[in-house]
Amino acid sequence: MGQNQTNLLQGTLDLLILKAIGDGEFHGLGVSRRIEQITHGTFQVKPGSLFPALHRMEEAGWLRSFWGESENNRRAKYYKRTKAGERQLGVETEQWSTIAQAMEHALKAT
């Protein structure tokens, strides 16, 4: 995996995770499936990227985790967005739209 791709992904990944979790509670696989769903299958997040991101975001105070039971009665670690996470979602969304608009303009320019 090239360096550039990783960087792009990292910035996007935080936003995607925050958005995917929303106000709900998800375990790792749940987050992964939810992202797949909301991006219409474009992004399939592998655990090698997902877990570092989840842990990093929890350490940053954007997510909170707790142990719970899964649908299949398996013990799983669930993640929930915090107040700080909500703010962060706002910040990142704004950044992303700026970039997206800028890119759109740039690509349309002749």
Partner: protein, 884 residues
């Protein structure tokens, strides 16, 4: 952005590591389980689902590791892990670790010691405010940095670039601090603006106040150095205003200099400062108004913002004006600024060249050590290739491995830095305590400060990084599949792997240092056997100055005669004589010589300057100087007899054009001329390297002096003669202090200080380099042999003879030795020139030195390849093949 939150997380991760790890493990496993649940569908077995889930995840450990790497506080944890791992690795191979540590200690230690010396002698600023404004004034050549007092006054008043210029003259005085004997101490006679120019404030009392005019006999005041005040006056807080005796003259203490102020010469620490105005009384000879008597040093402070070039231009203008105004004296006057601290350029230049050279050599040794250790680490890495392969295979990133290996190399380098600092500390203590055998107030203090430790630390860090990184390429080349498949790694088929190049470089450096050491040693040897024009063996010198006990030159004569009689009565003394000073004693004076027929006597009509000595009858016999023609002085050559002199061969040839000068006369003033009664062989008078210099000897009785050197020739051991001389002189007048009492050879040893220092320094560095080369060659040879033992076994089995095996085992090492030595010799020839510039008599093209170097390299090659060769020859095919 959640900094506190991250900090808390870091603390939790580090403190509750087990809990965090268990959580992580459970989380990833539960993910895997759930993924497997998803995949479990009709027709798919549970094991099959689980296998495909794990494949999709890419390994539970790998995921956990990637989380760990992002985790807060991971860096610290990994660092500790690496340190622990590195420590284990180093302890695991004690032989390797010890060799590496020793290598590092020697190499870093050598650098730290040289740096410490350079710092003390060159780099530390002088103990004055704004030291970069302070310059020594220097004459046209490196040797001339003395000026006359009248010239000083003109330079001081004329120059525009300087805010002030001060004058100082080193002189020896007898310090009367109670007790019968005056203590001989060295001090400066200084101009009244001396302390003001340097910007020094007194610790007690006050300093001389600047005044333009000279008031002779006006200010019998003395300033004591801090050390002098503490040692000789017990730190008396009421010392200011008290009367003390200087050379038996009454002086009033004006003040005490601050602690740590030792004037502007680094190697000379004066004990007292006296006004130059009192010079006639203190020295017993009034030269202060003679423009021709150039015997004082000048130190100036340039105005803020003035550069050295501007100061030089200003001084050149001043010198031009003086030359016009006083053509008789200042016709050739040149003045420029020089860096202060080491007698202008006299010592400054050679010392700077020498230290630069040595620093370069020390760096080379360090570089060789780096090459050596890099070789070791590369070899070790190759044998650890399997371990590395496995670790990469189970998910360690290459960067992580690199960090780990670097931790290992830096850890041992830092350890080496610590031991090197200890070594340097001891060496510096020893050097500071060392006193050369001279009565000069020679001080050589190397205080290892934070800068030295910092230097040591930085060197260790850089060294560790270099020899850690060089073998690291191996990590990138490691292909886990390959390493796991075959037990013995097959090295890439490059003709010259890095390891070999490193060894060749190292051998070259070693050879360079060995050659340099031999060149310096050859120089020292020749210097020791140089023809001095005297025979110092079996001669004891006793030096004093009766002035220190309050004698005048006229009164001194009788006491000097009684001293001479007293030492002649010592049993076993073959001959004894007297002079005011001896050649090569650092107390040399010269006088202008006028050719026969001179009518006006001034600097312009001087034919040449000759070294002059005042000697008693029997001096040449005692000193071992051969009389070529004429006669020695006798007791009849006294003050009432016509003036006579004995000259050396060069003098005779330069003045009369022939060595046959006995009976000829030459004038010294309008109404005095001197007849030559004898001619003696040439000698060395100031330096060992000087060209033949004219010298003249006057009869002591015709030119009395309070300066006294008794020369005593005896074949009894010095340990018996020296105390006997001391007793004999004390019996004549106990108040006379002995300035120096030692064998003449010991007294001369100071003259050879540069040669000795260079030879010792180069010798030690050469030895280090030698050790490094031996370990390097030994390391490579035994490594090659151990890796190819199996091949040798096969060869022996196929009928190879000893010679074939040896060639296979050591051919490469021999080739490297030859290439490296050849390069080193070539470099040595170039470097020898540098050495010849500070070691007299050293020659880069010294065949003995070159032969010595070649021989040494061959010997170390043989020595270090001996054991591996024996091992290669012991290859037993049956056993080796069984082992595989």
């Amino acid at each position: 952005m959640g900094r506190i939150s991250r900090l808390a997380a870091a603390a939790r991760n580090l403190l509750r590591k087990e809990r965090v790890e268990m959580d992580l493990d459970a989380e990833v496993r539960s993910y895997a389980d759930m993924l497997a649940d998803e995949k479990t569908a009709p027709g798919v077995s549970v094991t099959e689902a689980r296998r495909s889930a794990l494949a999709e995840i890419g390994g539970i450990e790998t995921v956990k590791q990637s989380v760990r790497e992002y985790r807060a506080g991971t860096a610290i944890e990994i660092f500790w892990q690496d340190v622990r791992y590195a420590t284990r690795q180093l302890l695991h191979a004690p032989g390797f670790s010890f060799t590496a540590l020793l290598t590092l200690t020697l190499a870093i230690g050598a650098n730290v010691i040289v740096f410490g010396i350079a710092r003390a002698v060159l780099l530390n600023p002088l103990p004055v405010p704004q030291p970069n404004q302070v310059f020594s004034l220097q004459g046209h050549s490196a040797n001339s940095f003395s000026f006359s007092f009248p010239d000083y006054q003109d330079i001081r008043d004329d120059s525009q670039a300087f805010s002030n210029i001060a004058l100082m003259r080193l002189t020896r005085v007898g310090l009367g601090a109670g007790g019968t004997q005056a203590v001989p101490v060295w001090g400066y006679e200084v101009s009244s603006n001396y302390f003001a120019t340097l910007g020094i404030r007194p610790a007690l009392g006050r300093f001389f106040t600047p005044s333009k005019e000279i008031r002779l006999n006006g200010e019998p005041w003395v300033v004591l150095s801090y050390d002098c005040w503490r040692t000789h006056f017990g730190g008396d807080p009421d010392i200011v205003g008290k009367n003390i005796r200087i050379s038996n003259l009454p002086f009033t203490v004006l003040g005490v200099a601050p602690r740590g102020f030792y004037g502007t010469e680094r190697l000379i620490w004066p004990r007292v400062w006296l006004p130059i105005a009192d010079e006639p009384e203190v020295e017993g000879y009034n030269w202060i108004h003679h423009r021709g008597d150039q015997n004082s040093w000048l130190i100036g402070r340039v105005k803020p913002g003035v550069t050295a070039a501007q100061a030089n231009a200003d001084l050149a203008a001043v010198a031009g004006r003086l030359a016009k105004q006083y053509p008789n004296f200042d016709r050739n006057l040149e003045i420029r600024v020089a860096r202060p601290g080491l007698f202008g350029d006299l010592l400054g230049r050679p010392v700077r060249a020498f230290l630069t050279g040595i620093m370069l050599m020390a760096f080379l040794v360090l570089f060789a050590a780096c090459a050596n250790l890099a070789g070791f680490f590369t070899a070790r890495m190759t044998s650890r290739a399997r371990e590395l392969g496995i670790r990469i295979a189970i998910g360690a990133s290459r960067a992580r491995l690199l960090r780990q290996l670097l931790t290992e190399s830096i850890l041992i380098a830092l350890l080496g830095g610590v031991t090197a600092s200890c070594l340097a500390l001891m060496a510096m203590r020893a050097l500071s305590a060392w006193q050369p055998n001279t009565d000069f107030p020679f001080e050589f203090v190397i205080a290892p400060g934070p800068a030295v430790y910092l230097f040591s630390f930085a060197l260790a860090l850089v060294t560790g990084t270099i020899f850690g990184l060089l073998p690291a390429r191996q990590i990138w080349r490691t292909d886990p599949n390959q390493t796991l498949k075959s037990a013995t790694t097959t090295a890439a088929g490059r003709r010259f792997p890095l390891r070999d190049i490193l060894l060749a470089v190292q051998i070259a450096l070693c050879c360079l240092l060995v050659t340099s050491s031999f060149v310096a040693l050859g120089g020292l040897q020749r210097t020791l056997h140089i023809h001095l024009g005297m025979d110092p063996q079996h001669v004891t010198l006793a030096e004093t100055d009766l002035q220190l006990a309050g004698y005048t030159a006229e009164k001194a004569t009788a006491t000097q005669q009684r001293m001479l009689q007293a030492v002649r009565r010592i049993p076993g003394v073959e001959s004894a004589s007297l002079s005011n000073t001896t050649p090569l004693s650092s107390n040399e004076s010269s006088t202008g010589i006028f050719p026969p027929g001179t009518t006006t006597f001034g600097v312009a009509t001087v034919r040449f300057n000759a070294r002059y000595y005042e000697v008693a009858p029997g001096y040449f016999h005692t000193a071992g100087t051969r009389l070529l023609a004429g006669r020695d002085f006798t007791d009849a050559d006294n003050a009432k007899a016509p003036p006579v002199a004995i000259v050396n061969e060069t003098f005779a040839k330069q003045l009369f054009g022939t060595a046959d000068a006995v009976g000829r006369t030459f004038p010294t003033s309008k109404d005095k001329s001197i007849r030559v009664v004898g001619v003696v062989e040439n000698g060395k008078y100031v330096t060992l390297t000087e060209d033949p210099t004219p010298a003249i000897f006057y009869p002591f009785a015709q030119d009395p002096d309070t300066a006294t050197v008794l020369l005593v020739r005896s074949s009894r051991p010095y340990s018996e003669i020296i105390p006997a001389v001391r007793r004999a002189m004390a019996a004549v007048d106990p108040a006379v202090p002995l300035l120096q009492l030692s064998s003449w050879q010991d007294a001369l040893s100071f003259m050879m200080l540069p040669e000795r220092a260079a030879t010792i320094a180069l010798g030690i560095l050469g030895l280090f380099a030698l050790l490094l080369a031996v370990t390097g060659i030994f390391g490579l040879a035994s490594y090659t042999v151990s890796r190819r033992m199996r091949e040798f076994g096969v060869r022996v089995a196929l009928g190879a003879r000893h010679w074939d095996v040896l060639r296979a085992a050591l051919g490469r090492v021999c080739l490297l030795l030859i290439i490296g030595s050849a390069a080193g010799l070539a470099l040595g020839l170039a470097g020898g020139r540098l050495i010849a510039s500070f070691v007299s008599q050293a020659s880069a093209f010294d065949p003995l030195a070159l032969a010595g170097a070649v021989f040494t390299m061959a010997a170390i090659g043989l020595l270090s390849a001996l054991l591996p060769a024996r091992r290669a020859l012991s290859a037993q095919p049956a056993r080796l093949l069984r082992e595989e």
